[in-house]
């Protein structure tokens, strides 16, 4: 969305919104609801527009959301003021190119809200010197399961081997993957319900850990990438960017999984037992055609409704939803790792972080920051 007028129409939390770069260069989010009688003012998914004209009665709004055209305006009373009819705008802020909206007019800043999750967004974004970009195309799919099950599953290090046995066997047989070692790593609560597992994966990463799958020819290239990262960020940050993977939850429903390929995934409940999922691939803007093809191949092999792993996850989550019909079994157990001072990725600390925040919100318990502000 580099040019003024570039826009994307999206649903966020089930609401239709327009993300637009206005003519003044600022990125805005406009609620996609005509202030006249409620129709969508923008009915295309993306493009470049100087203005948005409602198809119903042709009220027209500019790229800042201001009402600039009303057919037959002389039929309105003298008190009619276009300024009262601008498209509504929720609060909007961004971090490392991720644009977030907040439908409440007041409250904490995005930076405060993201809390410890910012560090992990940095690790994802520092893979490229010029920035990351979403590859064209989205994977849209649905599941007959409660949306919170996908939160749990998206950073569940414990389920990998049993659920994805076939996939991991495939990786071992197609080259270079040693699944006999436990994944060294950690699970962290990042504040406000955000959480992550960070671990040293057995798979290779083009940024920048060589693996036999890539072939000998890429070895030197990958070492160069690593050396550049080390020079720019120092040894420790370079190691984490390159040699660790992460499954990150931004509470409540944004997942960024930085495996060999990076996926952004968000999901919305349609009903208690049904959700819709959108997934995208995030890649370095400056990667070679060859690297993009390798990353996409890895992405499709593992992820998405036509991949080797995601369909098995979907099947298990739908299976849980069916199992919940037996109400005598009242609780899911996520106590794994509570006996450990520093829980690991196959523990369930990250799930506890999510559910605690969820519980706080349902019971209206304030966060620490909110309690401090109130005091």
């Amino acid at each position: 969305m580099a040019q003024p007028g570039d826009f994307r129409a999206r649903r966020v939390a089930g609401r239709p919104v327009i993300l637009v770069r206005s003519d003044d260069g600022q990125v805005r989010v406009l609620l996609n609801t005509c202030t006249h009688r409620g129709a969508l003012v923008c009915r295309t998914q993306s493009g470049n527009a100087r203005s948005f004209q409602c198809a119903y009665h042709a009220w027209t709004f500019n790229s800042r959301g201001e009402l600039v055209g009303v057919p037959g305006e002389d039929a309105y009373s003298l008190s009619f003021d276009r300024k009262d009819f601008a498209l509504a705008q929720p609060r909007v802020d961004s971090y490392r190119g991720f644009v977030f909206v907040n439908f409440t007019p007041e409250g904490e800043s995005l930076s405060d809200y993201l809390a410890g999750a910012k560090e992990f967004l940095d690790l994802v974004c520092d893979q490229s010197e010029v920035g990351m970009e979403v590859v064209p195309g989205a994977q849209l799919y649905s599941m007959r399961a409660n949306w919170k099950l996908l939160v749990e599953n998206s950073f569940d290090g414990y389920h990998g081997l049993p659920t994805h046995q076939r996939y991991f066997q495939f990786l071992v047989e197609t080259g270079g993957l040693d699944m006999t070692e436990r994944l060294p790593g950690r699970a962290l609560a990042l504040g406000n319900g955000h959480a992550v597992i960070e671990y040293e994966p057995p798979w290779g990463r083009l940024v920048a850990q060589w693996n036999p799958v890539f072939g000998e020819t890429k070895k030197a290239e990958i070492e160069t990438v690593y050396a550049k990262l080390e020079a720019k960020f120092g040894a420790e940050w370079a190691r984490r960017v390159s040699r660790t993977s992460r499954n990150l939850l931004i509470f409540p429903n944004l997942i960024i999984n930085d495996l060999m390929a990076v996926t952004i995934r968000t999901f919305f409940p349609v009903s208690p037992d049904y959700m819709e999922v959108s997934a995208w691939a995030l890649e370095p803007q400056d990667e070679s055609a060859e690297d993009r093809a390798i990353r996409l191949d890895n992405f499709l092999t593992f992820l998405g409704p036509g991949g080797f792993a995601t369909p098995d996850d979907v099947e298990m989550l739908e299976s849980c939803q069916k199992g919940f019909a037996n109400r005598e079994v009242m609780w899911s157990d996520i106590s794994r790792g509570m006996n450990r001072a520093e829980p690991v990725p196959t523990d369930e600390l990250q799930m506890r972080a999510f559910w605690r925040r969820w519980h706080d919100l349902l019971t209206l318990r304030p966060t620490k920051a909110e309690a401090q502000r109130a005091a």
């Binding site: 994307r8 295309t44 998914q45 993306s46 493009g47 590859v135 064209p136 195309g137 989205a138 994977q139 849209l140 799919y141 649905s142 599941m143 007959r144 659920t163 046995q165 076939r166 996939y167 066997q169 495939f170 819709e276 995208w280 691939a281 055609a289 993009r292 093809a293 996409l296 191949d297 992405f299 499709l300 998405g304 409704p305 036509g306 080797f308 369909p311 098995d312 979907v314 099947e315 298990m316 739908e318 299976s319 069916k322």
Partner: protein, 165 residues
């Protein structure tokens, strides 16, 4: 129009559909050449199918038959919860047209619908769209050297697999 050639192409497409519905995996694979590309594009922000599997996101993409062999291996292993038990399918093909022909290559487009039943979930749904098959003449035989599947449902119902489209 070469009616006989068209009917041979149609016969091959019907045979493929029958093998998929009857889960006759090795016979299905044998219809494909080793270098056969298999591609189900995703949909982009402009409501168009993605145009290049090497630089844009797809739903399924294999650059050769080895990828299809992996899929079959996974389905047959019994270890993939999503593939076990396999879903019941019924492929319907129509509007079969010969769109281009070169020396040994034929391009065939068709319209399809697959009715799908997941018995344990008492769920019935349909996928539908277009096929573009690239066929290759090998002596007297015709084999599939490429298949592009445009899936018009842009929200996948839980699962997608080579035999569900």
């Amino acid at each position: 129009m070469d009616v006989e050639l068209l009917s041979r192409c149609a016969e091959l497409l019907y045979l493929e559909a029958a093998y998929l519905d009857e889960k006759r995996w090795s016979e299905w694979l044998a219809l494909y050449t080793e270098d056969a590309e298999f591609w189900v594009p995703a949909w982009d922000e402009d409501g168009q199918p993605t145009a290049d599997p090497q630089s844009q996101l797809s739903l399924i993409y294999y650059s050769n038959r080895a990828g299809l062999e992996d899929r079959v291996w996974r389905i047959q292993s019994g270890l993939s919860p999503a593939s076990n038990p396999p879903l019941r399918t019924c492929h319907l093909l129509t509007n079969i047209r010969l769109t281009a022909r070169a020396d040994t290559r034929l391009n065939v487009s068709s319209h399809w619908q697959v009715q799908i039943h997941r018995a344990e979930k008492q769920q019935t749904f349909a996928y539908f769209g277009f096929y573009e098959h690239t066929l290759r003449r090998e002596g007297q035989a015709l084999r599939i050297a490429g298949k592009k599947v445009t899936l018009l449902n842009d929200v996948v119902e839980s699962v997608l697999d080579i035999y569900l489209v």
